[in-house]
């Protein structure tokens, strides 16, 4: 029997499905398709779904269903998904002003990689990323994978305040901070885009990205950054 997918108990009213050992665009797309299909099948019996890099946590209403019934549904859906093709998510463009004045760590990254800070920016903007998960804070999207040459561990001491819009790297993941918060990722630029709006009228407008979407960063200069509403 293959190791994946595997379904484990999480708690009294939850199961976790592991779809792969590693995160990849395929795993992210499969997690998303599985979640969508499960909502369609079980509707109100699902209290919440938490998609992550290669897993889906399924929280159900323990008074309406149980572990065995939900696991059965999951196995059926997985079998069907494996026969079909899963669809990739939407492609979202995020403008970024890459510069030493907008990304405190980009010069150091340029030096240690030998690419120069402009090279770091170019490499970061040169590929498409997958939204693996949303978490840590509302609207914080984990994107991957970053080119090995600019992958860096988290800072030994996190900064007490990272500004909203900061574009950052940790290991092979990259993210845009949706709000001012403490943070230990390496800062390389700033986006003027609002990724999470807590005052939005609806969920759909509150948040730009969903797990399973794809992202491309578009380099902009300081003038365009400011024209788009960015403030340094």
């Amino acid at each position: 029997m293959p190791d994946y997918p595997k379904i484990e108990t999480a708690g009294e009213a939850s199961l976790i499905v592991y779809l792969a050992a590693e995160a990849s665009p395929d795993s992210a797309a499969a997690v998303r398709s599985l979640g969508d299909a499960l909502r369609e099948r079980l509707g109100e019996h699902i209290e919440d779904l938490i998609p992550a890099h290669a897993s889906l946590l399924v929280i159900f209403d323990a008074h309406a269903t149980n572990h065995a019934a939900v696991a059965g549904e999951l196995r059926e859906i997985i079998a069907r998904l494996q026969q079909g093709r899963t669809e990739g998510g939407r492609l979202v463009q995020i403008p970024v002003y890459y510069a030493p004045e907008s990304g405190e760590d980009i010069e150091e990254l340029g030096r240690s990689s030998g690419l120069g800070w402009e090279g770091v920016a170019e490499l970061h903007a040169s590929r498409e990323y997958q939204v693996y998960a949303i978490g840590f804070a509302p609207g914080f999207a984990y994107l991957g994978d970053v080119d090995d040459r600019i992958a860096r561990p988290r800072l030994a001491t996190p900064r007490p305040r990272v500004p909203r819009g900061a574009v950052a790297i940790a290991e092979r993941q990259t993210a845009v901070y949706p709000a001012d918060s403490p943070g230990g990722w390496n800062l390389i630029g700033r986006s003027p885009m609002t990724l999470f709006n807590a005052d939005a009228d609806s969920e759909d407008t509150a948040m730009v990205l969903r797990a399973g979407d794809r992202v491309r960063f578009r380099p902009v200069d300081r003038d365009e950054f400011e024209a788009l509403g960015g403030v340094l």
């Binding site: 946590l57 008074h63 840590f136």
Partner: protein, 313 residues
């Protein structure tokens, strides 16, 4: 409009409904009352909807003044309750006249009290819920804890019958708790002897415990799990970071995380845990998912049959 005015807020008083469900994909956690049993009884005494917004008061210190006549009930931690500086009954519907003052003191036992008003507080929901999550800055009045000067509007509702929960029918709060655990997640990565140590040891509630999680101090646990990917965290998850000291993740937990987990504490026991204070102790006992389901059904029956009686005149 009828309202309660906050005169003193205490260390941590938060507006809560049952919680924010179905929004984890946005990174939003659930929030909601840490002890949903006591919170539910406050609303039930007043014949409110189970999801009506009330106040969770951690370690007392809340003082309010009534603007208009209203009814309220205080449940949860065993804390002194004063109306106009005179002792008043907890676990009971109280009638307040305009200008009356109500104060909740520091609990003798337990940690969290719940104050509900007939009709519930009239608070605009954010993402489907009024639950305040400080870390997210979402819910409540402006995403924050109550402060002196806050005015909490009360929804209009017909008067509720004056009822109380007799002393023998109330939840009891102690300085220790036995927590049932549904094994799950990476539990098989914890060697047998580590699991035995966990289930046979007492752990102390650390000072660093809060609404995100209760940190415990006791025998360290190690596991064979190599690095793992971040994954969704269920309520009550027992997370073991590299220092081996378990953390039980509660209402305001982050939605995803990458530390190994042994399983989850039964929700009924999370409510008891949330009434413990630093220095109190816990033990753990493993149960199967079937036993957990039976315990939940039994608790629901017990709750339906709880004695709630009219107050004799």
């Amino acid at each position: 409009m009828t309202a309660l005015l906050v005169e003193k807020a205490g260390p941590l008083s938060l507006l809560q409904d049952r919680g924010r469900f179905g929004r984890a994909a946005l990174g939003l956690t659930t929030g909601g009352p840490m002890d949903p049993i006591a919170a539910g009884l406050a609303n039930r005494l007043l014949q409110n909807d189970a999801d009506a917004t009330l106040i969770e008061i951690s370690l007392g210190g809340l003082e309010l003044r009534a603007e208009g006549d209203l009814q309220l009930a205080v449940t949860g931690a065993d804390a002194p309750l004063l109306r106009n500086d005179e002792p008043a009954a907890s676990w009971s519907v109280l009638d307040l006249d305009a200008g009356d003052r109500i104060a909740i003191g520091h609990p003798r036992r337990g940690c969290r009290s719940y104050l509900a008003v007939r009709g519930g507080f009239d608070i605009a929901p954010r993402f489907g819920s009024t639950a305040t999550v400080l870390r997210e800055g979402i819910g409540g009045l402006k995403g924050g804890a109550l402060e002196a000067g806050d005015r909490l509007p009360v929804r209009t509702a017909a008067r509720a019958e004056r009822r109380w929960i007799p002393e023998g029918a109330r939840p009891a709060y102690a300085a220790s708790a036995s927590l049932r655990v549904v094994l799950g997640y990476q539990h098989s990565a914890f060697p047998q002897q580590e699991q035995e140590r966990f289930f046979s040891s007492a752990y102390r509630v650390s000072r660093l415990s809060d609404r995100m999680g209760y940190r415990l101090e006791g025998p360290a646990l190690s596991c064979d799990s190599p690095g793992m990917l971040s994954e969704g965290i269920a309520a009550g998850a027992i997370q073991v970071p590299p220092d081996g000291q378990p953390i039980i993740l509660l209402n305001d937990r982050q939605t995803i995380g990458g530390y190994p987990k042994l399983g989850c504490v039964l929700s009924l026991d999370c409510a008891a845990l949330a009434q413990l204070r630093p220095g109190d102790t816990v033990h753990f006992a493993p149960i199967t998912t079937d036993t957990a389901s039976r315990a939940l059904r039994l608790a629901a029956v017990h709750e339906r049959n709880r004695r709630i009686e009219p107050i004799a005149r």
